[in-house]
Symmetry: D2
Subunit: 428 residues, 4 copies
């Protein structure tokens, strides 16, 4: 391990409290689910809920207990194969697209696995040295990521069902905001040499892919005060957005044609309703548009540039610069409302929460990037190719999980995340 | 309906008793299964156990209750879409390869559906006229077919699991038979004009595809007294069976190469063990070889012909002629041993039960074939192309389900059924 | 070789004359083609024209010259790999879907190959014993088959070109027939035990798959006096033929949906024109419908049965019985008109030529079938699975190639052959 | 068009001379090819030679003649469909993977098309205003790109042929260099704010994707004096390079497994020979390794970092900084040796020519990038996603085509270009 962070600080409580809080949250997310719901894999990109439950537990067993808890008895030796995700150096894993084929262990057995591991981790937390504190913190952040994936994968699964089943009750209509989003306003920033990213080994936890802090040159830019809203995206569609090639990247246009895209994932063909974790619901015109691929976000920006000269997606540097002095508040999963809400108030809003914001930055290592040593170095660095960076977290992200330097990443065609966009522009 | 069979006679008990016995058997088959086990679809050809439970119930609801029970309240209108299999004239069905994506309704709800339908069918059985008796009989035979499919699909599912889970306890070793099968002996039949098939409207239930009884010309032939045994198939493998093209149909050889076949499905690479519904078990050299595709059965026969001149697969006419005077006894699923057993005793054995026997006969309509009228005519006739006939039932077939004229059919590449072979030969 | 036919009798001329005539015909077929035309493979089922030229030549080199011409110098040792088609026992062949990737040898070199082989075969023909006469005859029949394939493959290739290029000049309109085909009349035959097929070793050449002559039981039947015409098939389309599942086999209906079939291959969407080897041409309503898959032919027959009770496709036995006493005349490729023509005259017409007629008979070995010994046994027997028999030859078949017992065979989804249908029916 | 470059300066000759020289070079490249060679498409990424000949000509017809030559008679209106590549705004193009299905127009007709267009362009060159000069220059650069693609596509095609045909004679062994490449030395550069890219509208032609010139922050770095050599790459293989996941990006490792990569494309399994445009040839251990995907280049660099701390691929900024003061000389296609040669001499060598060098930089727009207006803006900008930048040109690139700011780009899995790598490292 190159430079572990010495502290567990997931909201300031003790390691044991953090552990208990986050681990039990994962189980709580599954409470509305049947064993059947937790078993199915709806596409190769997604995983069954029970796989998530097991995989995050395996992470603690494999990286915390096995190396650091003398005499720890492995729960089931087959789990190294079944619940490894992509740590090739640990061994060959059961292939991802086949995760839905494993009916056993069932949910009950996996909950027993969780209990077994939790019992073994508990004493370690009492006497945790820096290494263990770091590994546990990493494991908890990892578990939070899978909490979000569990929800996004579940949404995709339920959407396959012609009966539109609901996971949660529908929230009441959001109060205190106008029916339509006000036109965007623009916040400007000067150019120059600046620094982004995080120093490894600092006081607060960061992933290795956020490091090291490094200098970049940045030209002056402006950024919109809120994400693009459903009503705006509906205009793009009305303008032939999915029928006219001129706004699309070549790969994106191929995708539109091959997969017959005509609207965002989960929108119904009336363009007035969408599938949510609360079942089929009316689309709120003022809420941020969501479940866009990068291709759609980028096409929207090019279309928008015909009205707003220079409009485009922001780079991740621009986004970070604009976000870093804002309070780390927003609409996260803890609210229980698993759908983005309209912007309220004024100023630069919704940088955190609601929807992940596609940036135009390819996901690449920062200059001088050093992955964690050993298998944990496979966590992030192995994926630094062909993906793009998203920033800011979503309404499905656990509160406390993201930060200004946090880098999420997906392939440009993927749409099942809570992903939207915010426009930037270059002053002329 | 062209010519319904007037009687329900599934082992001679009353309609109500037959109904209760067969319907409860289906549920009993699922007793060892968790909801997780019952939800997963392991390949497009297979279906989840809970889909089978629902589909056979939908059959009664759609073809018995809706047309014949005044005031019947449909349990859930969505089920017409979800649990229709291939009755296109009823409406568009949820696509077969996606059956495993439907986590809801769950097992509990499907059991409630079964109870709802059973309650509604009960009074009909008391006052059943010929049409209803026929439809219920058809529904029960249909349900028995799905009982077998449920087991074969489950076996395929559990085989995906690297932990080799068991569905049932292993039977003790079979007694009263030699360790190796004795060399086959041959039973001869003269040629001439004969009749096969069944007359519709007779005393006993038959499927439409077994009708009409019709004349055929048959040359003299001989048939082996038992199916090919594991030890014999191992010799074929040892002789290069999966490496030498000369014994294979062109399509079969492509399949061998594309899918890297090297042994029967479920055999382990030591050629000494195989996966069974009782987990990984030693291969009994004297038991019939099982889980062969037609291509493998046919290649084996061509290989065998190098020792036994004229050896080949029987036609379905030959098989029926040899079988029709034998008692309808054998090793069926009711024994609880879900694996073929070695031949015991002497004479023409195991024509019924143990393994379905591939014949060389393409599945085609008999001369003058008339499918049932309406949607039920889609049951069999729609599949009379590109498949081959298997005869005799297997260790996974419910006792009482098959008869001499019974025609099962699968595509030549399919291996997940309990399918083996018996040799025939033309006297020289 | 089991029982070679002693005579070469391709229209009664001498072996040397037959050889010269048929071999030069193949080259003549390519005269209107550029090297570019002769190089491209438009789909895996098709082959480039230059591959056909080479493959039929390799057949003579490999099966006639190498074993029977002492001191024969192989033209190029690589050709055993490049131009073998499916004789696995000869060695591994270059994979069929990649035949279009081989730009070299070019056309000129392949013509040199042909000349080289022809020079070597010539002296053999002078002193031919029975074996050589049989092999040469087989090679010439084989070459005639590839003459037809060359034309069908070429038609498919040119049809990919949005400029609709023509291979040959359009014939003038056919004279002497009414604009619309007269309603079909029916020819009846009694039932009983009859014989079909051919005896190997007889006076005239037959393929092994036509043997042996054998007894069959046949019920009384009637057959239509002409193939189904374009105008009739247009009615089927107008009646929802490609939109209503009820007339289709299950596999056929999947194909209709997956590949969006809406009309016969090569028909334009106005249903008034079709692509031909003479470019885009008006559809003659009275001409036989052509380029149907089995699924389409079968669906048409089921649709027709709603008007004509008992209408269906004939079996190959029925077809052979009806055809065997007719003169072996018809519209073959030698006419230069590479498109079926309307029926003229009266009586049972167009049994030979115009369009191959799908029968409902799966392509299976006749009872007692013995393939030729050695590699030549792979010619036919290896394909006796999952295909259906077509009878009678087409407008692209060389005159003199077919006979009453001739069995052609294709998969039920294939449409690029000159394939149509004739109805049969069972008297009531 | 935003800001056209006013001058044609392809080596300083007049517009008419440049046009004639470059256009005739394309035809000369095809001289050793038969029409058959020029027709085949070996994979969807490649195009037939005759398509290249036609497409570059269509570019002049569509973008120069049609808008700027009054009364110009289009050669064939179908060519807009057949020979458009990716200018969606011009109209729907014939799909790329099907380019090999078009046998007509043939080579001769395409040469006539070239002559027709050349005759029409000639007078325009005499009286060329800035716009026309720019468009012609763009067309000539475009044609040079296709000259290189023609060679790489041809190499891929000939490699499918088991006879290993040669396009050109083998060069004699390279003289004046040691048998093994000397260990690399490192050239260092200081960090700071620097500028890369080119200003549009300058004196010399650049593509829009090289603009605008812009500031970047760069940390100090070192770069190797020569590309990685075959012998070095052989060590990587010997060390388990294709068997050990630890050095590979996750997507790369999937590719290695799915496509069974075991060595660079065109290497033979003895690791001593490779297929070249001069047929099968011995691998020169001192020559740059070639035909690597990005995944392989990146994996090599990670492996190398175990010996050379900090070794990695350079960024495109680093590469440009190191290259920009070097003379624009190297081993280009004009030498006639279509294979990279060993490094000769001393100092920073082979930055231009021999092999395209993968950089770690995703292909993205430079800050403030403005694509050309109209359809020509589709030339580069549409592809700025999921690809990586390569720099410096190769032995198949026409001399005079590249420059320090030139950005080539391919997907990370693509291997059929003349692509290799040079290491960089961060000083510690």
């Amino acid at each position: 391990m190159s430079t572990p962070n010495p502290r567990i600080d997931l909201a300031g409580d003790s390691p044991a409290e953090s552990y208990r809080r986050i681990r039990s949250r994962t189980v709580a997310l599954c409470e509305p689910l049947s064993p059947e719901d937790m078993t199915v894999q709806s596409m190769p990109d997604a995983s069954p809920a029970k796989w998530h439950l097991a995989h995050v537990t395996w992470f603690f067993e494999r990286f915390v207990l096995q190396p650091h808890q003398a005499g720890y008895a492995v729960f089931d030796t087959a789990y190294d194969h079944l619940f490894n995700s992509y740590y090739f150096t640990v061994g060959q894993m059961y292939r991802r697209p086949r995760r839905g084929l494993i009916s056993r262990p069932g949910v009950e057995r996996i909950l027993a696995y969780r209990a077994h591991v939790d019992r073994a981790v508990a004493p370690l937390l009492e006497r945790a040295d820096d290494t263990i504190r770091f590994l546990v913190t990493l494991g908890l952040h990892h578990e939070q990521q899978h909490q979000e994936l569990l929800l996004t994968d579940l949404k995709h699964l339920l959407a396959q069902n012609p009966q539109w089943p609901a996971y949660a009750a529908a929230p009441g209509p959001a109060a205190g905001h106008p029916a339509e989003a006000a036109p965007p306003t623009w916040h400007g920033y000067p150019g120059g040499v600046t620094e982004i990213g995080a120093e490894p080994g600092g006081d607060r936890f960061v992933y290795d892919n956020e490091t090291p802090r490094h200098r970049v040159w940045l030209d002056a830019f402006e950024i919109a005060d809120r994400p693009v809203a459903n009503a705006e995206f509906r205009q793009f569609i009305g303008d032939g957005g999915y029928r006219r090639s001129e706004w699309w990247l070549a790969d994106g246009w191929s995708r539109v044609q091959d997969e017959q895209w005509q609207r965002p994932l989960y929108w119904q063909d009336d363009l007035q309703h969408h599938f949510t974790l609360a079942g089929l619901q009316p689309l709120d015109p003022a809420a941020p548009v969501c479940h866009l691929s990068y291709y759609e976000a980028d096409a929207y920006a090019r279309w928008a540039a015909e009205q707003v000269p220079g409009a485009r997606l922001p780079t991740e540097t621009e986004w970070e610069l604009a976000a870093r002095d804002l309070p780390l508040q927003g609409h996260f999963a803890d609210s229980g409302v698993l759908d983005p809400r309209p912007a309220a108030g004024a100023g630069l809003r919704q940088m955190y929460g609601d929807v992940w914001e596609w940036t135009s930055s390819p996901y690449a290592p920062y200059p001088g990037f050093q992955p964690l040593a050993g298998s944990l170095g496979e966590y992030n660095g192995k994926f630094m190719c062909s993906q793009l960076v998203l920033r800011g977290g979503s309404c499905a992200t656990p509160a406390g999980h993201v930060r200004p330097t946090y880098r999420n990443f997906f392939y440009p065609h993927q749409r099942w995340q809570f992903s939207g966009l915010r426009l930037a522009r270059t002053p002329r």
